[in-house]
């Protein structure tokens, strides 16, 4: 059985169906992969400006909206200078 239990209390990256990337501490989850994210921040990518981090606080994200949950290596993450990164944002999922 696959589970998110090992990610609890770790810093994770969520990618949502609308293309948003949110980092935060995984505080909880349930069978539907609904996720509680503490201390969360949205990372807004853009092609001609650095990455902007927008604090969001405590979030409850519906499982249906989640494409990806990834553990963040805090060491590596800290060593990355977000302001220097230029990247197109992830486009939202399109159906049909």
């Amino acid at each position: 059985m696959s589970t998110l239990q090992g990610y609890v209390d770790r810093r994770v990256l969520l990618v949502l169906q609308d293309g948003r990337a949110i980092v935060g501490v995984l505080a909880g989850f349930d069978q539907k992969s609904n996720i509680v994210l503490a201390d969360s921040k949205e990372r807004v990518y853009s092609a001609d400006e650095g990455v902007e981090e927008i604090p969001l606080g405590l979030y409850l994200v519906k499982g249906e909206m989640i494409c990806l949950v990834g553990e963040i290596d805090e060491e590596i993450d800290k060593s990355v200078d977000l302001a220097s990164i230029r990247a197109d944002p992830i486009p939202p999922i399109r159906y049909g």
């Binding site: 949502l16 349930d30 609904n34 996720i35 503490a38």
Partner: protein, 149 residues
């Protein structure tokens, strides 16, 4: 922690709900259920572009249309606290007897360096002491000498 326990604890608290179509609703939570259907009161609704607003006295949102909810940061601690309390209650209920007990805590670091005997009047106190010790030492060996009569 279960997402739904957080939501339940958010009753009467302010929250922001974003729907899958991008609309947002700001209001106080009146009630919720296991499908995450919710009712809000004193709601400010915005359209997906965020340039039009509506005020609603009360509204019902079907859980399946929700993208995410944003709740007050302080709720996390409230829910954690509640869960700890429930766990402790459970423990002492299963323990059964409520008499005084003796808890012996031996802390090992390579060799035995400390030997602490903590006398507790209440079983609950013993559990608390046990928690404290297991927190402050990474390598420790705990056993209960006698939990009383």
């Amino acid at each position: 922690m279960l997402p739904l326990s957080l939501l339940t604890a958010a009753q009467n608290k302010p929250m922001l709900v974003e729907l899958k179509n991008g609309e947002t609703l700001n209001g106080h939570l009146v009630n919720c259920d296991n499908f995450m259907n919710i009712t809000l009161r004193e709601v400010y609704q915005t359209n997906p572009d965020g340039d039009r607003f509506w005020k609603l006295k009360e509204c019902y949102i079907r859980g399946s249309t929700i993208k995410y909810l944003r709740v007050p940061d302080t709720l996390l601690d409230v829910v954690k606290e509640e869960q700890n309390r429930a766990r402790d209650m459970n423990r002492s209920a299963r323990g059964g007897h409520m008499g005084g007990g003796e808890l012996r805590v031996v802390v090992l670091q390579e060799v035995v360096v400390v030997d602490v005997v903590d006398l507790c009047e209440e079983e609950e106190g013993a559990a608390e002491a046990l928690n404290t010790f297991s927190y402050c030492s990474s390598v420790c060996f705990l056993y209960t000498l006698s939990i009383a009569v």
